[in-house]
C-alpha cells in the first residue's frame, strides 16, 4: 500500500522483467532525445542566437534612430521604412507599443538584427500565415539575431509578452523583397 510503510527489504528487491524492459526503453528514449538536442543545434539551420550584449537603453535607442535616419526610404503611420544595405547590422527597437523601424530586407541575404527595448520587456513575434518566430526584447540587452529571409512578403511583428495596456495594439511590420 502506498499509504503504509513498505515491506522490509524493499531496497534490495530486484526489478521484474517487465519493469526492466520498460526502464531500458525509457532510458534509451531519454538519451536519444537528449543527444538530439546538441546534434540538432549543429545540423539544424534554425537555432536561437546566443550572441547578446549589455547596452544602455537610451544609447540603443539613439543608435536605432541614427540607423533609421541613414537608410530611411519612406514612412508609414509615422514609423520610418528603412532599407539597409544587404547583409548589414540592422537595429529594431521596441518601445511605447511600437516596433521601430519597418525593415525592408533583401531575400537570401543574411542580416544581423539587433533587438532591444527602451521601456518594458516585449515579445518580438513575427507572424504570417506561413510561419511564426518569437524572440524576447529586453531593455538593457541587445539580442543579435542572424536572420536570412528566404521568402518575399510582408510580415507582421506583434508583441507576445505582456507590456501594459497597449500590449494588444503593439504591431509592426517587416518587408522582404
Amino acid at each position: 500500500m502506498s499509504i503504509s510503510v513498505p515491506e522490509k527489504g524493499w531496497y534490495s528487491k530486484p526489478l521484474d522483467k517487465e519493469e526492466k524492459v520498460w526502464v531500458a526503453i525509457a532510458v534509451a528514449w531519454c538519451l536519444l532525445t537528449f543527444f538530439l538536442m546538441p546534434v540538432w543545434h549543429v545540423v539544424g539551420k534554425q537555432n536561437p542566437s546566443s550572441e547578446s550584449y549589455k547596452v544602455d537603453p537610451v544609447k540603443f535607442n539613439e543608435l536605432a534612430a541614427a540607423f533609421a535616419e541613414k537608410y530611411k526610404v519612406g514612412e508609414e503611420n509615422g514609423i520610418p521604412v528603412v532599407r539597409p544595405p544587404a547583409g548589414s547590422d540592422v537595429f529594431v527597437v521596441a518601445g511605447s507599443y511600437q516596433w521601430r523601424p519597418i525593415l525592408e530586407l533583401e531575400k537570401g541575404k543574411e542580416y544581423r538584427i539587433h533587438l532591444s527595448s527602451t521601456d518594458f520587456q516585449h515579445g518580438f513575434s513575427v507572424v504570417s500565415p506561413k510561419f511564426v518566430m518569437n524572440y524576447m526584447a529586453l531593455p538593457g540587452y541587445d539580442y543579435v539575431l542572424k536572420v536570412t529571409p528566404t521568402e518575399a512578403g510582408t510580415y507582421s511583428i506583434i508583441c507576445n509578452e505582456f507590456c501594459g495596456m497597449g500590449h494588444h495594439i503593439m504591431i509592426g511590420k517587416l518587408i522582404v523583397k
Binding site: 502506498s2 528487491k13 526502464v23 532525445t33 536561437p48 524576447m136 531593455p139
Partner: protein
C-alpha cells in the same frame, strides 16, 4: 496525555491527530474558496479570449487574468498541498503534527497574503500579470502579499519536515516512509528551492517598488523568477504523482510493485526536474547554448525518465490489484472492470493520461531551442500548462477531495451522481481546451492578449481563420471544464456543510 488528541479512523485504521485534522480542514476549505474565485475569473477571461464573445474591457481582462493565475496556480494548489503535507506527515505516520499553533500562524499569513494580493489586483494596482516582469511595476502591497504568502508556505513546509522528524524520533512508524509521504517529501524539498528563489527575487522587487532600490535588471529577474515560477509547478508534479499513488491505493487497494523504482523516480524529480526553469528563457538574450541545452534537457532528460517510470508504475500496480480481484480474462478485462464510476479512480486515470500525453509531452518538446522559436509565448504554452496543472494536478486533487470529505470532514458526499460525472466533464473539457489552445498557438496566437484582431492598431493583421476556429473550440472546452469545476465546488461545499455526518 497525547492519546486524547487522537482519534482512530474507522475506514483506514490510521490514528488521526485532531489538531492536524483541524488544520487540514481549514487549508482545504480555503483551497476550495480559491478555486471558486479563480474559476469565476477563468470564465470571464475565457469568454474574452473567444473572439466572437470578447466580454471584458482590456484593463479588466488583464486584471482578471492575473487574479485567475494567482488564485489557481498559487492559492488553490498550495493550500491544498499544505493540507496534503499535514495529512501525509502526521496522519499517514500516525504522528502528531509539529507545533500546531505555528501551523495556524502559517495559515493566517497565507490567508492574509492571498487576500492582499487579490485586493490589490482587483483594485487595479497590479496590472502586471502573474510574472510581473520589471520594469512593469505593481503597487508594493502586491509584492508584500506574495512575500507573506510565501513565508506562510515556507513555515508550513518546515512544519512538515518537523513532523517527519518527530514521527521518526517517537517511532510512530517502523521502517521507511510510506510512498505517498515520500512523494510529498520530494514536493516539500522542491518547495524549499522554489521559495528560496521566490525570496531572492520578490524581496528586491518589493524594495524597488517602494523606492529603496533604483532598478531591477530584467534578465536577472527572469532567471531568478523562473527559478521560482517553474519549480513551483514541479511541487505540483510531485504532489500530483503522490496523489496518484494514494488514489490507486484508496480505490483499488493497489500497492507499488517495486518501491525502490518508484522512489528512484521521485529522487530524479528532486535532483533534476527543477533546472527546466530554462524552458522560459530559450529565446532570451544573455544565456549560452550550453546553459540552455543542459538545463532544458533536465540534464539528459532524467526527469522525463522519472515521469516515464511513474506512468508505468501507477497503471501497473492498478492492473495487478484488479487482476488479484479476479479480473484476469485476456489482456484488458481488468481495465474494463475497473471502478470507472469511482470519482477517485476516474480522476486518477484521466489525470495520468492528460498530464502525460497533453501536458508532459508538449512540455518536453516545447522545451527545445528550435521549437521554442515557434511556440514561445504563444497560446500553445497556455495549452501546455493547462494540460499539466489543470488536467493533471487539479483533476487529481479533485479526485482526492471525494475521499478527504468522508475521511477528514466525516461527511457523506451529497451527490454521488454528480461526483461520478464530474471528473469526466472536467477532464474532457480541459483536454479539448488545452489541445485547441495548442493548435491555435501554432498559428502564432499570442498568450495574454486581449484582442488578437488588433482593432485600433497602427497596422492590421488577421490570423488564419482556422486559428479563430480553434480559439472558439478552446472556449467550448473551457466552458465544459468550468462546468465540471462548478459542480466540484458546489458538491464539495454542499457536502462539507450539509452532508450526512459519518460517525
Amino acid at each position: 496525555m497525547a492519546q486524547q488528541n487522537f482519534r482512530t479512523c474507522p475506514t483506514t485504521g490510521l490514528k488521526v491527530h485532531l489538531p492536524a485534522e483541524g488544520l487540514i480542514k481549514a487549508n482545504a476549505v480555503v483551497a476550495v474558496v480559491a478555486i471558486l474565485i479563480g474559476g469565476i475569473a477563468a470564465l470571464a477571461v475565457l469568454l474574452t479570449r473567444v473572439p466572437a464573445v470578447h466580454i471584458l474591457p482590456a484593463d479588466w481582462f488583464y486584471r482578471l487574468l492575473t487574479a485567475h493565475a494567482l488564485d489557481m496556480l498559487v492559492v488553490w494548489i498550495i493550500f491544498f498541498e499544505v493540507a496534503g503535507l499535514y495529512f501525509g506527515g502526521a496522519v499517514l505516520l500516525n504522528s502528531r503534527l509539529a507545533a500546531p499553533k505555528v501551523a495556524w500562524f502559517a495559515f493566517l499569513l497565507m490567508v492574509v497574503g492571498a487576500v492582499i494580493v487579490n485586493a490589490i489586483v482587483l483594485m487595479g494596482g497590479a496590472d502586471v500579470t502573474f510574472t510581473s516582469y520589471p520594469p512593469l511595476k505593481a503597487h508594493p502591497a502586491y509584492y508584500l502579499g506574495i512575500i507573506l504568502f510565501a513565508v506562510g508556505t515556507l513555515t508550513a513546509v518546515g512544519l512538515f519536515f518537523g513532523t517527519l522528524a518527530i514521527a521518526k524520533k517517537e517511532k510512530t512508524y517502523d521502517g521507511s516512509l510510506p510512498m505517498v509521504t515520500f512523494g510529498l517529501m520530494s514536493a516539500a524539498i522542491i518547495a524549499v528551492l522554489t521559495l528560496a528563489h521566490g525570496a531572492a527575487i520578490y524581496i528586491p522587487t518589493f524594495l524597488w517598488s517602494i523606492g529603496v532600490l533604483p532598478s531591477i535588471d530584467p534578465s536577472m529577474y527572469r532567471i531568478i523568477w523562473w527559478g521560482f515560477g517553474h519549480p513551483s509547478q514541479q511541487i505540483n508534479v510531485c504532489a500530483m504523482v503522490s496523489v496518484w499513488y494514494l488514489l490507486a491505493t484508496l480505490t483499488t487497494g493497489a500497492k507499488p510493485l517495486n518501491e525502490k523504482l518508484c522512489r528512484t523516480a521521485f529522487l530524479l524529480y528532486v535532483l533534476f526536474i527543477n533546472v527546466a526553469s530554462e524552458h522560459h528563457l530559450l529565446v532570451d538574450p544573455v544565456l549560452s547554448t550550453a546553459h540552455k541545452i543542459v538545463n532544458t534537457s533536465y540534464v539528459m532528460h532524467l526527469a522525463v525518465l522519472a515521469s516515464m517510470i511513474h506512468a508505468f508504475a501507477v497503471p501497473a500496480m492498478t492492473e495487478v490489484a484488479l487482476r488479484n480481484k479476479g479480473y484476469t480474462k485476456g489482456l484488458f478485462e481488468w481495465l474494463k472492470k475497473a471502478p470507472w464510476g469511482e470519482p477517485g479512480f476516474s480522476a486518477m486515470m484521466l489525470s495520468l493520461f492528460i498530464f502525460g500525453f497533453v501536458g508532459g509531452i508538449t512540455g518536453v518538446t516545447f522545451g527545445t531551442e528550435q521549437i521554442s522559436i515557434i511556440r514561445h509565448n504563444t497560446w500553445a504554452i497556455t495549452g501546455h500548462f493547462h494540460g499539466t496543472v489543470v488536467g493533471g494536478t487539479t483533476l487529481a486533487f479533485m479526485g482526492l477531495t471525494y475521499y478527504v470529505v468522508p475521511l477528514i470532514f466525516r461527511r457523506e458526499i451529497i451527490s454521488k451522481k454528480a461526483a461520478q460525472i464530474q471528473p469526466y466533464l472536467f477532464g474532457i473539457g480541459v483536454f479539448i481546451m488545452a489541445n485547441a489552445m495548442m493548435f491555435a498557438g501554432s498559428y502564432g496566437i499570442p498568450r495574454r492578449h486581449w484582442d488578437i484582431t488588433f482593432a485600433g492598431a497602427a497596422f492590421p493583421y488577421s490570423f488564419d481563420p482556422t486559428a479563430m476556429l480553434f480559439m472558439t473550440l478552446a472556449g467550448l472546452g473551457g466552458l465544459l471544464a468550468i462546468t465540471g469545476g462548478a459542480i466540484y465546488v458546489l458538491n464539495t461545499v454542499g457536502s462539507v456543510f450539509f452532508g450526512k455526518k459519518i460517525s
